[in-house]
């Protein structure tokens, strides 16, 4: 690990000031320290935000929840208000990582964990994300876990979060404070970036910008929630494919549907065409196939991960059967 200077921030204002001079925030540290040990990440300065008062979950007047960025994944998953109104979020969190990691990992840090693959970790291999311009060893290499949607010739890594997939299905809004003190609200749908030719840039945050809260809109009344994760072992493994779904039925028809996907792209994936293929229709094999066609119209495999295309289709259809009570 390269050495660094360390400061513990006493307030959000102090944190964004400290960080503006090239510092990196550390909260749970479970992803950052892991990467620092391999010198994939080499920050000059760590700004410890773990003691800031951003560890509460509060109800808002509009019926939604405001989640402090430092609420640990464990606490968020077990919160009775989250279980009652946003079961897909609890389920996704509980499907991710291990008990020890969930106790440490923060809400903001989970959103900001690096999109990555094993070539990103292996400093002997080319990786455009780790070293821009060096190439992508995953293309033409072992790419079983890699992206089938939204990838580029520069990077085919996947975003590993389960939580963020549920957050996309729930239309979460990310609240930040910038280095100059300005606050902004960023829809999770606008938060992540596809790799393009700059895979080292994974989201729209500016240097020094700090996530302070995540807002969830009021729950969809009467909706059924599901998080279905397909992985290589039963626990403590990244998703090959996952589906987060919030579906409301009305009179035998699909009244609303929010569907997001993990393990398939550089960011948690959501495509309005999938939902458009379902809303207003009665559940049927035909409608479900049409939704899968919409999801996978532009899907592309890279050899070892070709299986993910039919796997995503089957996982979506199985999820829809469960969500629509068929």
């Amino acid at each position: 690990m390269k050495t660094f200077t360390y400061e513990r921030a006493g307030s959000v204002d102090e944190a964004v000031r400290d960080s503006s001079a090239g510092g990196r925030y550390i909260a749970g540290g479970t992803n950052l320290l892991d990467l620092m040990k391999l010198q994939v990440e080499t920050p000059d300065k760590l700004v410890d935000i773990s003691r800031l008062p951003l560890d509460r979950i509060e109800e808002r007047e509009d019926g939604g929840l405001t989640i402090g960025a430092l609420v640990p994944n464990s606490d968020l998953a077990a919160d009775p208000r989250v279980i009652a109104g946003y079961e897909v979020l609890s389920r996704a969190l509980l499907a991710g990582a291990s008990g020890q990691l969930r106790n440490k990992a923060s809400t903001g840090g989970n959103l900001l964990q690096r999109t990555r693959c094993y070539y990103f970790y292996d400093t002997a291999m080319a990786c455009n994300k780790r070293e821009p311009g060096s190439g992508c060893s995953a293309i033409g290499g072992f790419n079983r876990i890699h992206a089938i949607l939204g990838a580029s010739e520069h990077c085919i890594a996947t975003h590993p979060s389960d939580m963020a997939v549920a957050m996309r299905a729930l239309d979460a809004v990310i609240i930040t404070q910038k280095a100059d003190g300005d606050k902004r609200r960023i829809s999770i749908h606008d938060f992540y970036r596809l790799p393009g030719d700059t895979p080292q840039i994974e989201n729209v945050l500016e240097p020094g910008e700090l996530i302070t809260h995540v807002e969830l809109p009021a729950p969809v009344e009467g909706a059924r929630h599901l998080y279905r994760k397909v992985r290589d072992r039963a626990s403590y493994a990244f998703a090959l494919v996952s589906v987060a779904g919030v579906v409301r039925m009305d009179g035998g028809m699909i009244a609303s549907a929010a569907l997001a996907f993990g393990g398939v792209a550089h960011m948690p994936w959501r495509n309005p065409a999938v939902e458009a293929a379902l809303v207003g229709k009665a559940p049927s094999a035909q409608a479900f196939e049409a939704a899968a066609d919409a999801l996978l119209a532009d899907a592309k495999g890279y050899g070892s991960n070709d299986f993910k295309i039919p796997l995503a289709r089957r996982t979506l259809i199985a999820s829809l059967r469960e969500l629509t009570g068929e």
Binding site: F4, L33, A78, G99, Q100, L101
Partner: protein, 180 residues
């Protein structure tokens, strides 16, 4: 820097990069916690910080100067075993023993999580956990055992859960009991 580990105060000046694990092992002579992967994948380094189980390899000592850290040495001693240690011995919940301190710290932290009503990926109902053995396996998945002593580890944890008498740690409740 000042640390509180197993109820004792320690002063140390480790390098800023030092993890809680390396602080314990290399600076304070507390070698019970083990370094397996050093990347949070194996769980051999699991300790309790403010009562919560965490991977001590993946957190910086400097960030935990005001916290209560408990390692395997703080749970029990050879003369006075913690119930979880005694159960691991009774059920032969290990072979080489390298993962055992982490398994035991993790199991102790895990049972407290269940007592708080925290659900898991194995819970059919997130608001009413039935603490059967599939719950133990799921909740302990962050602790690997390369000798594969898993069945005996589950038995040991089951015994501690059963002997606690705690309602939250009981397996599948009968309908009559559930209404009680």
């Amino acid at each position: 820097m000042h640390f509180t580990i197993n109820g004792q105060s320690y002063e140390a000046e480790p390098d800023i990069r030092t993890s809680v694990l390396d602080l314990c092992r290399e600076h304070l002579g507390l070698t019970g916690s083990k370094k397996g992967c050093d990347h949070g994948q194996c769980g051999a380094c699991t300790v309790l910080i403010n009562g919560r189980r965490v991977n001590s390899c993946l957190t910086l000592a400097v960030m935990h100067q005001d916290d209560e850290i408990v390692t395997i040495e703080g749970l029990g001693s050879p003369e006075d075993l913690h119930p979880m240690q005694a159960a691991f011995v009774a059920h032969d919940g290990y072979q080489c023993g390298y993962c055992t301190p982490g398994q035991i710290c993790s199991a102790v932290g895990m049972l407290d999580e269940v007592k708080k009503g925290w659900p898991s990926h194995a819970s059919a109902d997130l608001t009413d956990v039935s603490f059967d053995n599939s719950e133990i396996s799921e909740r302990m998945s962050g602790n690997l055992c390369r000798c594969s002593a898993y069945p005996n580890i589950v038995d040991a944890i089951r015994e501690v859960a059963d002997q606690s008498g705690d309602e939250a740690l009981k397996p599948a409740r009968q309908p009559a009991e559930a209404g009680a």
